[in-house]
Amino acid sequence: MSLASYAVIGLLLITATIMGTTLLLVGRFVRPSRPTPAKLQPYESGVPDVNPPRARFTPRFYLVALLFVIFDVEAIFLYPWAVAFDALALYGYVQAALFVGLLLVGLLYEWKKGALEWV
């Protein structure tokens, strides 16, 4: 591993940002800018908006986020295991199976509890 590889990524990230910004700045000299109050209204198919824009939405989005966090961490744990798979051999496999199994049970629990239903 070389830190320089990451330096390259950083440099390219900066480059890409500069490119994008440049494009926007160039556009600034070309494009018109004639804002009118009506134009600046949120788009509601032409109907005046009465409700607050940050209305409530279903909590299931949170549930998905929470589930994701759990399983993403599971994935993190599986990666090193997968890489060292040959060295860990059967014992490691059993332990990983136990780990995944527990999470799978958790998933089943959520499933059964209806956390995955999206209605």
């Binding site: 409530r56 949170y62 929470l66 993190i76 744990f77």
Partner: protein, 102 residues
């Protein structure tokens, strides 16, 4: 490029940790406080990895992995609570949450 030393890791992590801590102590938005805590946890991870790097041992990295896992669990609980709060109160400002007083 100059040589990387443990001190670099430690300075970075200390900076992150202090930023997070100051954030927790000064910010009023629950979510931001929460993010600051996460920042602190990640600062800890950097410390662990820095020391592991110095000692050329894996213990610190393993610890960091566990910290990540626990942080995830913590996030789950925390978001659950914040969500319950915002649904009841329509705010995430900690100063507006004060039913519990004599």
């Amino acid at each position: 490029m100059s040589e990387l030393t443990t001190a670099h890791f430690l300075f970075l992590s200390a900076a992150l940790f202090i930023i997070g801590m100051v954030g927790v102590l000064t910010r009023r938005n629950v979510l931001i406080i929460f993010m600051c805590v996460e920042l602190m946890l990640n600062a800890v991870n950097v410390t662990f990895i820095g020391f592991a790097w110095e000692q050329n041992a894996l213990t610190g990295q393993i610890f960091a992995l566990f910290v990540i896992a626990v942080a995830a669990a913590e996030a789950v609980i925390g978001l659950g609570i914040v969500m319950a709060l915002s649904r009841r109160l329509d705010t995430v400002d900690i100063d507006e949450v004060r039913q519990l007083r004599e």
